[in-house]
């Protein structure tokens, strides 16, 4: 593998002095080292970690993985720094400040690293980075996801550039693994400076509320540079990143809840881009009718409803793992199952900002769609979109560029794509939302669907500008366009279906589409408008 060959293999330097003073047999020495490794930075630091409401690196790994499935690597690896007294015995910890290895989650293989805050504050040494790189390389060779549990004060300052090199080694692997195996970061403590770019490069970043932070520079530096007063929590806490910045995808109450949820989340994912989306045993009948859906779309087209109600009603067991539930809420994305098979759900949310597409929702949707496409996860899109959000804020922010990302993502995707237009599909946003024209495999319309360039009022004002009897013209327009027929007669939707049959139809389609094969033209890589 080319990546493995490119690795910087620093030779481990033996500490001969230690051997000379030791009378212990090798076996006893191994035992002693193992014991020391298991204690990390020592009982005092473990207690301090617990006092902060945090678990230790090993406790986290144990909770994340199936019982007794963890196979550790590099337990004996130590840092190689000899400056600033780091060479002393008391500053050497077997395994250094990270625990790495592989294990299983519900029987399925996963590689894990868990930074150990009790050893030098979890700071990243060259050795630390080397351990992470090793398991990432293995994960890519065998095709298994990598989960990182981040809890690190930052670079190992004593090591200087070696630490920085370590970061870059990890970043490189993050990038090379991107789209090959799923990568998940769970931020369980501080993660600052350059370190933040590893989670940023992974597919999903989760955070623990109140105990985790992500920022480029901390509040002190911010104060000295921009004179802003801001707390750690406000600057880079879980709330900020899951509601304002969109850096993190979900936040959980505490370590235990976060790890248990991560296990649940992992169940949705395929192991690599060579594996199909997993199919779990399903108890929910695939032909279940959902009568509640026949009345869910309100009669007044201006009235909101909750797209999540539709999603919950259609998917298996009402089980929907929403991604970024509190950010750009005008679009809903997340994982669910249909007849046991993992699917990605994308839906406009009429309840928030009428479900319009804006910068944030386009980017949120685009990244999710690309993840699904990379990992063979079929995409089901529920469309009720009045268009792109107008205004200077959006135009100056680059809605053209960002909106194009969602368009790009849907167009490029070759996984099975099923689209259901529940109500509005107006203007360019209709095209964007996994339309037939972007190679939608199955495109349905509910009887309430309206596919048109715009709403009746706006359209009439343009077509019949200056004419009297606008109301009559509006009625004519509604009659003509505010229904699914214009799209259906042109074959832009494959069928107009009763909402109650949606689940049944999608399950049937997915079965057929499981063998879908579609290839994009060869290219070095595509050029998504970033």
């Amino acid at each position: 593998h080319p990546v493995v060959a490119a690795l910087p293999q620093s030779s481990s330097q033996r500490d001969c002095r230690w051997y000379s003073v030791s009378n212990l047999s090798v076996k006893e020495r191994i035992e002693k080292k193992r014991k020391a490794a298991l204690l990390g930075g020592g009982q005092k630091r473990i207690d301090a970690q617990h006092k902060k409401g945090k678990l230790t690196a090993r406790e986290r790994v144990e909770l994340l993985l199936d019982p007794e499935s963890f196979v550790e690597s590099d337990m004996f690896l130590e840092h190689r720094c000899s400056d600033f007294g780091m060479e002393q015995d008391k500053n050497k910890f077997p395994g250094d400040s990270v625990v790495t290895g592989r294990g299983r989650i519900n029987g399925r293989l996963v590689y894990v690293f868990s930074q150990d805050f009790t050893v030098f504050g979890g700071s990243l040494s060259g050795a630390h980075a080397q351990k992470i790189c090793k398991i990432m390389d293995q994960a890519m060779t065998v095709g298994a996801p990598v989960i990182g549990l981040n809890d690190s004060g930052g670079a190992r300052i004593q090591e200087g550039v070696e630490s920085l090199a370590g970061y870059a080694d990890i970043f490189l692997r993050n990038v090379l693994a991107s789209g090959v195996v799923p990568q998940i970061s769970l931020i369980m403590g501080p993660c600052a400076g350059g370190a933040v770019y590893s989670p940023a490069l992974t597919d999903f970043t989760f955070m623990v509320k109140d105990t985790s932070y992500l920022f480029i520079t901390g509040p002190d530096v911010v104060k000295s540079v921009t004179n802003e007063d801001v707390t750690q929590e406000e600057l880079g806490g879980a709330k900020t990143h899951t509601t304002v910045s969109g850096v993190a995808h979900r936040a959980f109450e505490n370590d235990v809840e976060a790890l248990l949820n991560l296990r649940e989340f992992f169940n949705f994912l395929p192991l690599s881009n060579q594996d199909p989306a997993p199919i779990r045993e399903c108890h929910d009948p695939n032909d279940r009718l959902v009568p509640a859906l026949d009345t869910i779309v309100p009669f007044e087209s201006t009235k909101a409803y909750d797209m999540l109600d539709i999603v919950h009603a259609i998917v298996d067991e009402r089980d929907f793992f929403e991604i970024m539930p509190n950010y750009a809420k005008n679009i809903v994305v997340g994982f669910a199952r249909m007849n046991g098979r993992t699917v990605g759900i994308v839906g406009n949310q009429p309840k928030v900002a009428s479900g319009c597409l804006d910068i944030n929702s386009s980017v949120k949707g685009a990244r999710f769609v690309r993840f699904c496409d990379a990992f063979n996860i079929p995409i089901i899109t529920f469309v009720d979109v009045p268009g792109f959000l107008p205004g200077t804020a959006q135009e100056y922010g680059g809605i053209i560029r960002h909106g194009a990302k969602l368009l790009y993502a849907f167009a490029e995707a070759t996984v099975p794509k099923i689209t259901v237009i529940t109500r509005k599909a107006y203007g360019g946003a209709y095209d964007v939302m996994s339309s037939k024209h972007l190679r939608g495999d199955v495109n349905y319309a509910w009887p309430t669907a309206e596919v048109a360039v715009m709403g009746a009022k706006g359209a009439v004002q343009i077509i019949f500008r200056g004419k009297e009897n606008q109301a009559e013209a509006e009625a004519e327009y509604v009659d003509k366009f505010a229904n699914p027929f214009p799209a259906a007669v042109r074959g832009f939707v494959d069928d107009i279906i009763e909402p109650s049959t949606t689940r049944k139809k999608i399950c049937r389609d997915l079965e057929v589409l499981a063998s879908k094969k579609q290839v994009n033209p060869w290219k070095k890589h595509a050029n998504i408008p970033l």
Partner: protein
Amino acid sequence: MASHGLSPSLNRLLLALKYATFQPRCCAVHKAHYSTVYNGNEKTFDKILIANRGEIACRVIKTCKKMGIQTVAVHSDVDSSAVHVKMADEAVCVGPAPTSKSYLNMDAIMDAIRSTGAQAVHPGYGFLSENKEFAKRLAAEGVTFIGPDTHAIQAMGDKIESKLIAKAAKVNTIPGFDGVVKTAEEAVKIAQDIGYPVMIKASAGGGGKGMRIAWNNEETREGFRFSSQEAASSFGDDRLLIEKYIDNPRHIEIQVLADKHGNALWLNERECSIQRRNQKVVEEAPSTFLDPSTRRAMGEQAVQLAKAVQYSSAGTVEFLVDSKKNFYFLEMNTRLQVEHPITECITGLDLVEQMIRVAKGYKLHHKQEDIPINGWAIESRVYAEDPYKSFGLPSIGRLSQYQEPVNLCNVRVDSGIQEGSDISIYYDPMISKLVTYGATRAEALSKMEDALDNYVIRGVTHNIPLLREIITHPRFISGDISTNFLPEVYPDGFKGHQLEASTRRELLASAAALHVASQLRSQRILGNQRVSNSPVECSCWELVVKLGKEAHPVTVTRSGNTYTVEVDGERVEVCGQWSLASPLLPLTINNTHRMLQSLSRDASGEIVLQYLGTSFKVRVLSKLAAELNSYMPEKVPEDTTSILRSPMPGTVVAVSVKAGDTVAEGQEICVIEAMKMQNSLTAVRQAKVKSVHCKAGETVGEGDLLVELE
């Protein structure tokens, strides 16, 4: 019996049915619960308009269909896809959501009658059912009102006149009765003359709505204010009535049925004592309290009253009965009652059919001696409301999942909603009337337990926990009830089912087993070659189940679908199909069948189960996770003493404070109106008002911030 023109064999069948003793039958086979057979040769109407919504509209339409009558539904715009609209042959929209603009909009309803050519109108209950103006307008256009004559509506609709008529008809009436009240001070004076306690209510209103009890002058003034406001908003008639309040009474009513030829019958009693805020919750027929002679005396007085006002159609004479079986006339409802199904169950009559016949002018088939009491029937009113807040504050929402227990034998569910329906702030929050019957009361009660356990309602808060507690309470079972039952049995408010050691073990064991079943399912990935060849299913699961503050260590071992759970030193065997998709979770726990419901389950081990009617939240963690969880910090919940949130969705009627005001403990801060009930929200402590976040006329949701205190 009018059976002319019927074949002799059918005639014999009719007689056999009429006198048949009660036989439990399965609803799947026998959908209707009536022992009388509709006579198809008796021509009534071609088309009837039902001036109502919800379950009662559906109920009327069902009988119309049976009688071959075309039906017209009226509806507000928000109800345009309601069940009653779908069931009817035709439907007419009569206005926007507020009832005053739709279901009470006489002009629009008259238009609907004209445009559809309906020959008669069934008004259901509530709305225009006891509105003499409506009856008059119908009469003027030659449309039959399926109910009594205007004269009877007027006489009985006026609480003062009705008592005078009752007195004259030698019906026992309540002492201390007085007159119309115009001002608060007049109310106080009248109350003092009668002697406390007194009851204050709208003259025009039926049922318990707008009824308040005052024990002193202060409460009289408050009661006057609320009742007159409610009277004005609900009935457009702000007259009030004040009378002696009989403490600890039973509420027992007699169903009467009369024709236009001077015949009147009493169809036995209904016991409606279980009430909250003067609204009925559980009803039964017959009453455990009445002996045959009291029953006859009440029935005969009810018939005397009906005859005194030339009553025709179905009606109800309500009595208060004291502990010595003295009974007093309360009022007569000149309409079909909500709780009429239990009378239908024990008598075998279809009251709606009888109303339609009588309205057409037919004579009653039956004689008094034909009216049986066959078995026992119980009705639970299933409401969208939170029983933990004053025995039921309205809740709204969308019925995301909804399954009625109609697959059970001897269960009748009258409802007007279905999965996907919205329970809105505009109308009564009743979801359905759940009726069970049996040869004996015990049988009917046990069936009610099953029915409540099998009833799936998701998306709105409902009162099934309270209903199930009531019907299994020893006092209720022994028949020792009064209208004060709820406040007496739950002096500190309803708190849900209280677990005992054995039932707690059952709950913990079920939760633990469900957790294991779900964990095992997570390992079953189909057709995947990349799952470990040697999956480790541990032979014994060590778990900790947390219920409330207490953590219970349990161990679970599995053998097929049977889980053996060791909990609190005892062994519990739980067996089931373990469908993780079904809302119902039928289990056999230590050889006893139990219907649990799985309300929610999340990744962090939280499982919410409905068990014995009440929902219990437990958290199931592996032993390791539970140990590690002890390091997790407790997060401090929001301080609720300094904020006032809306306890229910509704409209802000009045805000009595502004920022900077100092309020005393118990002082009114604002008034929220929901489902036509006005609720005064008061300060929980003395404080200064920091900010006000609502204003009169605004619509608020449950949990919305109204006022902040300092």
